[in-house]
C-alpha cells in the first residue's frame, strides 16, 4: 500500500472484526490516512473503523520505558524461558496466523495456552464435548430458518447486524418473505433492546435457565414438568407448552444462546440442557443451536488451538503433550490461585475484566502484553508491544461465529508490526535461548 495523506480510496468487501458476526461487506472510504466512512457497518463497526488512528506510543516499552523491538523481544523471551509455569493467554482479537505461533510458543516454553473463550463460552466448550453440537452456518439460518430463538443474549446491542444480516430480517431461499416468514422468540431475564424485535418475549427468573430448558425437554417428549414450573422459572406452563409446540412444528429451528447461559450459575450444565434440547428436537424436525460468540476471532482461537493441540482452550503443554482441564489450566484459575509465574498476553485485557484475586496476582508477576491500544493490562506489563490492528492494518484469516473462515482486507498501513510478526520474532528468540535452532515453523 502506498497511500499518501491526500489519497481517497474505497476498500470494498472489507471485514469488520469487532464482534463475532465478522461482517465482510464493509465499504470503507479512506482519506488522509484515516477511515472516514464505513458503509454497511453497525454502531459498533462504525466506532471500530472511524475511531481508528495511529497511536502515539513507542513500538515497545520495557518497564514503562521506550525500547526497540529487538530489545523488547529479547527481554520477553528471557522472561518466558526463565518461567516455571508460564501461561499464554488472549488471542481472540488477532489473526489465526498469529494464534498459531502463540500455540507454538506455549509448546516451546512448556506452559499453558488459553484463550478468552475460557471466560465467555468456555463452559459452552465443555458442554459441546459432553453433548455435541447440532450445528449449521448462518447462511443456512438466513435461507431456511422459520423459528429463531435467542436465549440469554442481546444481539441488538452486542451483535447489531446479526438479526438484519443473518437471522431474522433477510429474505432467504426458503424464507422468501424474510421477517414475516419467521417467528422470533427471546428468553431473557431483562427486557432488552432485542425484545421489541421478537414476536414472543419470555421473561425468565435469574438463574432458572436450566429448569426452563429441562421443562421444554420434558414437554417435547410428552411429559409435564409439574405445576410449580411458573413459580420456579417465571414462565407459565402455557407459554412453555406453546414454545415447545412451535419448536416441534417448525421446518428449520435454531437456538442462539449467549453468556446468559454460560456465565450464570450452572454454566456448562445450562448449555448442556440447551444442546440436549436441540438434539431431542431433531426427532421431530431440523433444529440447530449456536453460541453467540463475542470477539472478532474468538471462534478462530477455538479452531486454531483445537487443530494444534486437540482442545479448544485451557491446555497445558508442560509434559510435552497436551492436557485439557478447565478450572486447572484456565488463566482465571492459574492467576487467582497464584500459580502462573509469567504470562504472555495477546490482544486481551485481563486487568480490566478478570476477578480481583486474578488481577492482583497478574500485577505481581512479570508479563508481556501485545495490544494496538493502551489498556490497563499494557500499562502494568513488564514488556508491552504496540501492534497493528487486524482487519484494519493487517491481513489474515478470522473465523465467523459459525466457524466459517473469512479473509481480511486491510484498509490502511500501520507503523507498528502485526501480532504475527512480533510473535514470530519472539518464537525465534525463544528457540535460540533454548538451543532449538531458528528455522521457521
Amino acid at each position: 500500500m502506498n497511500a499518501t495523506l491526500t489519497d481517497t480510496r474505497i476498500v470494498e468487501n472489507a471485514t469488520c472484526t469487532f464482534c463475532g458476526c465478522v461482517c465482510d461487506d464493509m465499504i470503507l472510504k479512506v482519506q488522509g490516512g484515516r477511515i472516514v466512512e464505513a458503509r454497511n457497518a453497525c454502531v459498533l463497526g462504525k466506532a471500530w473503523f472511524l475511531n481508528h488512528h495511529v497511536e502515539d506510543r513507542p513500538v515497545a516499552l520495557i518497564e514503562g520505558k521506550p525500547a526497540s523491538l529487538e530489545e523488547a523481544v529479547n527481554r520477553a523471551a528471557e522472561i518466558l524461558v526463565a518461567a516455571r509455569y508460564p501461561v499464554v493467554y488472549g488471542l481472540s482479537d488477532t489473526t489465526c496466523e498469529a494464534q498459531r505461533i502463540a500455540v507454538a510458543i506455549a509448546d516451546w516454553i512448556g506452559g499453558c495456552v488459553d484463550t478468552t473463550t475460557s471466560v465467555c463460552h468456555g463452559p459452552s466448550g465443555m458442554a459441546f464435548q459432553g453433548v455435541g453440537e447440532v450445528t449449521c452456518s448462518l447462511g443456512e439460518v438466513k435461507n431456511r430458518a422459520d423459528l429463531v430463538v435467542f436465549w440469554g443474549c442481546n444481539p441488538a446491542e452486542s451483535h447489531p447486524r446479526h438479526m438484519t444480516r443473518y437471522s431474522t430480517m433477510p429474505r432467504g431461499l426458503f424464507v422468501p418473505n424474510g421477517r414475516k416468514g419467521r417467528t422470533v422468540v427471546l428468553v431473557d431475564v431483562r427486557r432488552t433492546k432485542t425484545a421489541p424485535a421478537a414476536d414472543i418475549f419470555l421473561q425468565i427468573k435469574p438463574r432458572r435457565d436450566f429448569e426452563a430448558l429441562w421443562a421444554l425437554r420434558a414437554l417435547i417428549k410428552g411429559c409435564s414438568p409439574g405445576p410449580t414450573i411458573e413459580e420456579e422459572t417465571g414462565i407459565s406452563l402455557a407459554q412453555l407448552q406453546d414454545l415447545a409446540q412451535r419448536m416441534k412444528s417448525c421446518k428449520f429451528g435454531v437456538l442462539f444462546f449467549g453468556m446468559g447461559l454460560s456465565m450464570t450459575r450452572g454454566k456448562h450444565l445450562n448449555v448442556e440442557a440447551a444442546l440436549a434440547l436441540a438434539r431431542d428436537l431433531n426427532q421431530y424436525t431440523k433444529f440447530y443451536i449456536k453460541p453467540m460468540r463475542g470477539h472478532g476471532n474468538v471462534t478462530g482461537a477455538d479452531n486454531v488451538v483445537s487443530w494444534q493441540t486437540g482442545y479448544p482452550f485451557g491446555v497445558n503443554l508442560a509434559r510435552g503433550y497436551p492436557r485439557f482441564n478447565p478450572g486447572e489450566y484456565t488463566t482465571a484459575d492459574l492467576l487467582a490461585r497464584g500459580e502462573a509465574d509469567a504470562a504472555l498476553i495477546i490482544a486481551s485485557d485481563p486487568l480490566a475484566n478478570f476477578s480481583e484475586p486474578a488481577r492482583k496476582h497478574l500485577r505481581r508477576i512479570p508479563y508481556i502484553a501485545l495490544d494496538p491500544k493502551e489498556t490497563p493490562t499494557t500499562r502494568h506489563a513488564t514488556v508491552a508491544f504496540t501492534t497493528a490492528v487486524y482487519g484494519i492494518n493487517v491481513a489474515g484469516t478470522v473465523y465467523r461465529m459459525d466457524d466459517v473462515p473469512i479473509r481480511l482486507r486491510p484498509a490502511i498501513p500501520s507503523p507498528y508490526p502485526s501480532d504475527e510478526e512480533v510473535l514470530r520474532r519472539l518464537e525465534r528468540r525463544i528457540r535460540q535461548l533454548l538451543g532449538m535452532g531458528t528455522q521457521n515453523t
Partner: protein
Amino acid sequence: MAETFVLIAGRTSWQGTSLNESKFSEEYLEETHTLWMNSADLAELGLKPGNRVRIGSQWGSAEVVVQADKRGELPRGVVFIAYGDASSRLMGGDTHGTGMPDSKGIDVTIEPLPAG
C-alpha cells in the same frame, strides 16, 4: 441499610463503542460505573438517578452511580451493570472447575452513599 439484589453484568452498545476510543476515556468509565435499577426499587431505596451507591458482593465492592432502567427493562430485584472494572471487582476467583467465575446472576447488596 444495604438491600439485596441479583446482579446481571453484560455488554452494552455504548460500552462497545466507547472502548474503541479508549478504556481510559470518560465515556467508557462512566458507562462501566453506572448501575441500572428498576425505578420502583430505586424509589424504595430513597435514591434518585445520579446518586452514588456502594455495590458489594461476597467477594468485593465498587462505588457506582445509579440510574433508572429504560422501558421497564429490569424486573424488580434485578440490577444491571456493563462489563468493566466495577463488575470485575464483584466477581470471585473460584471458577467451580469451569475457567470462568460467576459474573451474571450474583447476589449483591446496594448501600446508598452520602452525596458529594
